[in-house]
């Protein structure tokens, strides 16, 4: 039911619109790349566009809308806990994002590779599986963060907050790198300013740059923290006390 509630008429345009955008981005790449690498191109379009946009559009107001419309109160009258409610919301949001990744990321990538690539087309199953597993983990992480934000603020603020965090982390990281390169602690802190562990891990794997142990650990830690914050926040939401 939660899944069905997400797929409003407007929501159908999200994967279709994103799919059109990714196709527009992929075609010039296919025309100039000597090797059309499915996994690398998937990483480029999914991590930079599909995953964050799909997660933001489906999950920006995922909890706040339920609170505003009184749906959460209606649900809590029934014998379900807030934790169960949260898990159902997470599962529904994740399913929607997965469908968007397939429609807007995977299908255009295969189609452009098949019809437009001028060079050699490379479909290597290992990197493709790794890349898509990491997209899904990154999607879960962003969903977790947006659920957390959404317990406290309305949807549009959550998207702005996530974007502002990303930009601030990049700016502060560059500043620390240029001014405090000699401080080992600040350089360590710089690597943890934004939860980009899965993204860095994927870059390392596709670039054959070794085993991304600390990057994966950072990704899983951030994922865990986002879920922990989401579980904590959902218990803080005030609804009509007689309903629970």
């Amino acid at each position: 039911m939660e899944f069905r509630r997400q797929w409003t008429v407007a929501a159908f345009f999200i994967p279709i619109g994103l799919g059109a955008l990714t196709t527009i981005m992929l075609v010039p790449m296919a025309l100039i790349q000597p090797v059309y690498d499915f996994a690398r191109n998937a990483a480029q379009i999914n991590l930079s566009m599909v995953v964050p946009f799909a997660a933001a559009l489906f999950c920006g107001g995922i909890i706040s809308i339920d609170v505003k419309e009184g749906w959460l109160r209606t649900l809590l009258i029934r014998p379900i806990t807030r934790q169960q409610y949260l898990l159902i919301k997470l599962a529904a949001a994740f399913s929607s994002v997965v469908i968007t990744i397939v429609v807007a990321g995977v299908i255009p990538n295969i189609a452009v590779g098949a019809f437009f690539a001028k060079g050699v087309v490379r479909y290597e199953i290992g990197p493709i599986l790794v890349a898509h597993t990491l997209f899904l983990l990154q999607a879960l992480l962003i969903i977790g963060l947006l659920v957390f934000f959404s317990c406290w603020m309305p949807g549009i603020f959550n998207m702005v907050l996530l974007a502002a965090w990303y930009i601030a982390a990049a700016s502060i990281g560059s500043y620390l790198q240029s001014r405090f390169w000699s401080s080992e602690w600040l350089m360590l802190l710089r690597d943890f300013l934004f939860p980009s562990g899965f993204t860095s891990a994927l870059e390392m794997i596709l670039g054959n740059a070794g085993t991304p142990t600390s990057e994966l650990a950072w990704g899983f830690a951030a994922l865990g923290f986002s879920f922990a914050l989401a579980f904590w926040s959902v218990t803080r939401i005030e609804v009509d006390k007689s309903s629970e």
């Binding site: 000597p34 090797v35 809590l76 014998p79 806990t81 807030r82 934790q83 790198q177 390169w181 000699s182 080992e184 350089m187 360590l188 690597d191 943890f192 562990g197 860095s200 870059e203 390392m204 670039g207 054959n208 740059a209 070794g210 085993t211 142990t213 600390s214 990057e215 650990a217 950072w218 899983f220 830690a221 951030a222 994922l223 865990g224 923290f225 879920f227 922990a228 914050l229 579980f231 904590w232 218990t235 629970e244």
Partner: protein, 267 residues
């Protein structure tokens, strides 16, 4: 039914904290293995000739922050260390060395630290990057075997012989340093420019700083060092037909470069 139960949040938070600590520890203490065997440039050139391996040159300065950061965080990483020690002979140049620094900086046209240069086993520059590079980018850059097409152009002597056989002119592209290689490659790989070269010329490439190429540069009377790349067109017997610098217009509008090449071909 406890609606305020925080058991999930507490446990997930605790486990995540432990994983975060592990991530910080592994990031802070990179792999500790055998250190890289850095040689002087001369030693490295000899060794490269013997082993037929390319040379990876690190041009650094003692006061340079990014150089120290590379030394501390990038070079010790397993992937970087394995690649460097397995595929390259390694050389370090201290740009501030009172004895050799200035001449080597001049030879390679060093403008900033750190500069990383890959030389072929015969000492010709193949690639160059300036500034801090993270380990993923460094490995990708060093592993990239797609290559730079202009590097496959024949050497001047061979180009002259081919030009005589094919009754074509020789197009000599003079680059001021290896830093210009990739940009020049993009310009000369353009379809129209490549067609013009294929139709009228036998191309060859000279890079300032490459061993043995300074004498060839003076032989063809290349202009003194500037910021710009130069194209010199010669008859197959070595007589100059014309020359031009690749200006900004040519860099961004390939037809300007193509027109100039066609003009000199028909001169």
């Amino acid at each position: 039914m406890n609606q305020r139960d925080l058991t999930y949040a507490k446990w997930i938070g605790l486990i995540s904290g432990a994983i975060l600590l592990f991530a910080a520890v592994t990031e802070y203490w990179p792999a500790s293995g055998t250190s890289l065997n850095w040689l002087t440039l001369e030693e490295a050139r000899l060794e490269a000739g013997r082993q037929e391996k390319p040379v990876f040159v690190d041009v650094y300065a003692d006061w340079c922050g990014p150089c120290k950061q590379m030394e501390r965080t990038v070079f010790p990483a397993d992937s970087v260390r394995d690649l460097l020690s397995g595929r390259f002979v390694l050389a370090k140049i201290n740009g501030d060395d009172p004895l050799t620094g200035d001449s080597l900086k001049k030879q390679f046209g060093i403008r900033a630290y750190p500069t990383y240069i890959v030389l072929s086993p015969t000492g010709k520059e193949r690639k160059r990057r300036v500034g801090f590079i993270n380990k993923t980018s460094l490995v990708s850059w060093l592993s990239d075997s797609a290559g730079v097409r202009i590097l496959s152009w024949p050497e001047l002597n061979n180009a002259a012989m081919t030009a005589r056989t094919l009754h074509r002119r020789i197009m000599v592209l003079v680059l001021q340093s290896g830093e210009d290689l990739e940009h020049a490659n993009t310009m000369f790989e353009g379809q129209k420019v490549a067609e013009a070269i294929g139709k009228f010329y036998v191309p060859t490439l000279l890079v300032r700083g490459n061993s043995g190429e300074e004498s060839l540069l003076s032989q063809i009377a290349a202009s003194p060092r500037t910021q710009m790349s130069e194209v010199i067109v010669l008859e197959s017997n070595g007589k100059e037909v014309g020359r031009f610098f690749i200006d900004r217009q040519m860099q961004f509008r390939s037809f300007a470069l193509e027109n100039k090449l066609v003009e000199l071909a028909k001169k």
